[in-house]
């Protein structure tokens, strides 16, 4: 079964807790990321309102916290997300959630194997 991360970017505040939680969990050095925040905005739309979305994107170092998730725990980024907008689960389950609410994104990163 495929697993992934569902992120509600309507409410992702860009706090960067996911980034640091991931780096601590996997001891990722400075300059590299397991999940990296993309910052699109602010830019003004024709109606005078601004577009500004912050979207954390799992990188090729994301292993979906294999060690944790195998024990049934949630990934570290999900656990610490300040806005509580990240979910871990099977793609099937998350796809159902995705259907219920707009402004979400589902990532299914290819599992990276950390050198032992």
């Amino acid at each position: 079964m495929a697993y992934g991360l569902l992120i509600d970017y309507e409410f992702c505040t860009g706090c960067q807790s996911c980034e640091v939680a991931c780096k601590e969990e996997h001891s990722i050095p400075v300059g590299q990321w397991g999940i990296h925040l993309l910052d699109d905005g602010p830019w003004e739309c024709a109606d005078g309102r601004f577009n500004w979305n912050k979207i954390p994107v799992p990188t090729r170092l994301c292993d979906l916290c294999e060690q944790r998730t195998q024990q049934g725990k949630q990934p570290s980024c999900v656990h610490h997300c300040l806005a509580g907008v990240m979910q871990y689960g099977s793609v099937e389950e998350l796809a159902k959630q995705l259907e219920k609410k707009p402004d979400q994104v589902l990532f299914v990163p290819k599992t990276y194997r950390y050198a032992q």
């Binding site: 960067q16 640091v20 939680a21 780096k23 997300c81």
Partner: protein, 789 residues
């Protein structure tokens, strides 16, 4: 307080929490070879007293290996900001100082001249200097420079019980942080502060039967998501938004939150009071106020109505530079929402007109009937808080209070906060008038980087006048490096015991307890340091108190009990507890000391016309005053300095001047950023990421340009509190503390009538590109501070 006052809080799991979790675990438990200690942290590292739930994983060798958020905390629910997630890198940072040090006075500013000493030697040196200086100049010649947020910053017994000086001083001009708001709240409502009610104290939180979800939440000059201000868990705002609360954002900058708001009032910095008066005018003239509340519980409504009629929205729109329809819409939306919350931030304080800004905000909360109501503003009841402010004052300072610097000129300031007036302190340091200051101690304060305006003036004056200076911290910082002769190390939250009451205890929602999980170095906590220093410097005074040990002192100071520490040990096992709260306390006689109904003001009502302000010689009603520098007041200066300068927005990576040496955090935000509108950048030939010189009539600094419509074409925003711990610490570089320091551009002596407020958020400036690149070398930061951990 009965023994079951501190009940274990019920956990409210987040829907995203997995089936396998640590709900219901004890305060200490074993997990997979680790001893896990649950705790609620408060300083250091610096933070306001939020006390987010933490689990500290310690291995068999006693080393902290992992930090995780504690899902048992009813408010934070396992969530953490990046700073606690990276706690391990702070605790074991190679730059941390773990033992006392001394340095000869003539070696101040020389980073390699510190010598490690024992505590005995440190105490002996301090005692000798203290006795000598007190004999020669009196205890009033000792200044305690206090900072913000950290427990040390508010540790008033350092001044009262340890050194016995009336001259404890928060060094920011006009105490332009929290206290102007606090003063407005105290003088108008008799209660200390009114926080938005986020259901934090209710056992079932948002679903508690007593709670009503705020229909609308106004954010006024506040960034709670990054700052967790005053111990308020910022992201509970997101929790409310996801349940349906709508947002009105009042901010000169476009923020992420303003893009999620129904209304964004992007006003010219410093014009907030005009906006508030106009909103009051709309609400009053359209009859949208809570008529019963105004009739029964407010004083001076007609006078207020008359005053705000002088500020119709059309006039305010012009002053603030916002569309008039938006002012009407915001006023109506806030007044019609039942209930409505309002979060008021630091920007309220950082203007000369700050008190009046606070006054209009309290008036808005009051006349809309939102004070002391679920989902509105949460008001502290009579007797809430620790009274730490006055702790030991009579015994320790007594009649010397008359020698508090500034007390004659600014009694409303000095008496309320028992602090020397900051600007008068600078004058005294520089001139020796009214008397010379000879000894100082930094109490959770890195003033040259963060809390002083025109920091070079403070630097020069302190170095020149002080015979003896003590720095207390976890890391070396520029202020201590420049001026201190003794360094005393502090424990971090992982190494100490203690308490954390959100919001410093007036409007507390949770009481948290700190447990010691590891031992690192020789530091003390601030609480222990007070006891250790106090019992040595003033043995007779402390003998009278008769504390068995430092733990009993903590117990007494924070919990009001004396059981040799046994009470603390028992109670602290709950880890986190919700404090019992009530609403509509003014109807129930729970706000006044005499137990009568009403508010704790002279008239017993919310004083929209303030008898206290009147008594202090201030206008009893709110009024608008233009920022002292700007397009309206100083048009002649605008050619030279065409932009309004606002400063000090926060990031999640740092607590003010802290955390620059934590590699994982610095990486999130490596450089000091100045925000520039794209049109301005084009005109001035500035490209993204280029360094710019920001300058005005008071000073200059360099920062890195971020080109973005975050600010409009008239406004420049620059970050505060920058220094570079990876750089040379010797004078004159001092870790680069004056290079990117925006406070170089902010003057002292521009406070309001009562001594409060300073123009930190509303000055003028110009900018120009510079050729040199000052980019932080992250490899160096990683090399110096990162790799070991």
């Amino acid at each position: 307080m009965s023994d079951d006052y501190y009940k274990k809080a019920k956990a409210i799991p987040l829907p995203t929490l997995s089936e396998v979790n640590d709900l219901g675990k004890d305060w200490r438990y074993q997990d997979d070879g680790y001893t896990v200690t649950r705790t609620c942290p408060w300083s250091p590292p610096g933070c306001h007293p939020v006390g987010c739930g933490l689990k500290l994983y310690v291995d068999a060798d006693g080393r902290l290996q992992k930090v995780e958020g504690d899902e048992n905390h009813p408010v934070t629910q396992g969530r953490l900001c990046p700073r606690c997630i990276a706690l391990k890198d702070y605790v074991y940072n190679p730059a941390r100082i773990l033992h006392p040090m001394k340095r000869h006075r003539e070696d101040r500013g020389k980073a390699d001249k510190w010598q490690r000493i024992t505590w005995d030697e440190a105490f002996d040196i301090i005692k000798k200097e203290y006795d000598r200086i007190v004999a020669e100049y009196g205890r009033e010649s000792i200044a305690i420079f206090s900072g913000t947020g950290r427990e040390g910053g508010t540790m008033n017994p350092y001044g009262s019980m340890v050194f016995g000086t009336p001259n404890k001083c928060y060094t920011q001009s006009g105490y332009a942080c929290y206290t102007p708001r606090l003063a407005a709240a105290v003088y108008v409502t008799g209660a200390t502060y009114a926080e938005w009610d986020n259901a934090g104290a209710l056992p079932d939180r948002w679903d508690d039967e007593r709670y009503e979800l705020s229909e609308v939440i106004v954010l006024w000059g506040k960034q709670p998501l990054d700052s967790n201000p005053d111990g308020f868990f910022g992201h509970s705002l997101i929790d409310a938004m996801r349940r349906g609360s709508r947002i009105i954002n009042i901010d000169p900058r476009v923020t992420w939150l303003s893009t999620r708001s129904d209304i964004h009032l992007q006003l010219r910095p410093g014009t907030d009071t005009a906006l508030g008066m106009a909103m009051l005018h709309v609400i009053i003239s359209e009859g949208l106020y809570d008529k019963d509340f105004v009739e029964y519980w407010c004083y001076g409504f007609d006078e207020l109505a008359e005053r705000v009629a002088e500020m119709p929205p059309e006039k305010a729109a012009e002053i603030c530079g916002v569309a008039v329809e938006k002012i009407y819409a915001a006023a109506r939306m806030y007044a019609k929402a039942k209930p409505a919350g309002l979060l008021w931030g630091l920007a309220v304080d950082q203007k000369t007109n700050g008190m009046q800004n606070g006054q209009v905000i309290i008036s808005l909360q009051a006349i809309t009937g939102n004070l002391d109501r679920p989902g509105g503003q949460f008001l502290p009841g009579a007797g809430s808080g620790h009274n730490e402010l006055g702790y030991g004052y009579d015994e320790g300072v007594g009649e010397l209070k008359a020698k508090m610097i500034g007390i004659d000129q600014y009694p409303a300031y000095c008496n309320m906060i028992l602090d020397a007036q900051a600007d008068m302190m600078l004058k005294a340091l520089e001139t020796g008038d009214p008397f010379p200051l000879k000894m100082c101690m930094y109490q959770g304060n890195n003033l040259m980087a963060c809390t002083s305006m025109e920091p070079k003036r403070w630097h020069d004056a302190i170095i020149k006048t002080m015979d003896f200076s003590i720095g207390i911290d976890t890391f070396m910082n520029p202020s201590v490096e420049a001026s201190c002769d003794i360094f005393l190390p502090l424990k971090t939250v992982a190494e100490r015991e203690g308490t954390v009451f959100t919001h410093y205890a007036p409007c507390t929602v949770t009481a948290g307890f700190m447990h010691k999980a590891i031992e690192v170095g020789e530091g003390f906590s601030d609480m222990e340091m007070v006891y250790e220093l106090g019992t040595r410097l003033r043995p007779e005074l402390w003998a009278k108190e008769g504390f068995a040990n430092s733990k009993e002192f903590i117990e007494h100071f924070r919990l009001g009990k004396r059981e040799h520490g046994a009470y603390f040990d028992k109670i602290s096992q709950v880890v986190v507890s919700q404090v019992p709260v009530d609403y509509y306390k003014y109807e129930k006689g729970m706000l006044r000391a005499d137990g009568g109904p009403g508010f704790a003001t002279p008239t017993g009502r919310v004083e929209l016309w303030s008898t206290a302000f009147n008594q202090f010689g201030e206008d009893p009603l709110p009024y608008y005053a233009e920022p002292e520098f700007g397009p309206v007041t100083t048009p002649e200066l605008m050619e030279q300095y065409p932009f309004v300068l606002t400063t000090g927005a926060r990031t999640s990576a740092f607590f003010h001047s802290e955390h620059r040496q934590i590699a994982y955090l610095r990486e999130l935000h490596p450089n000091p950023i100045t925000e520039i509108n794209p049109q301005v950048a084009k005109r001035l030939n500035i490209t993204e990421g280029q360094w710019v010189r920001v300058f005005n009539q008071f000073g200059e600094c360099v920062q890195k340009a971020h080109i973005s419509p975050i600010v409009d074409e008239n406004t420049i925003h620059s970050e505060h509190a920058w220094w570079f711990p990876e750089e040379d610490g010797n004078e004159p570089n001092l870790y680069g503390v004056f290079r990117s320091n925006i406070n170089n551009l902010i003057p002292n002596f521009h406070m309001g009538k009562l001594g409060f407020g300073a123009p930190g958020k509303c000055l003028i400036c110009n900018i120009e590109p510079v050729a040199k690149n000052y980019d932080t070398n992250m490899d160096l930061v990683w090399e110096k501070f990162g790799k070991l951990v």
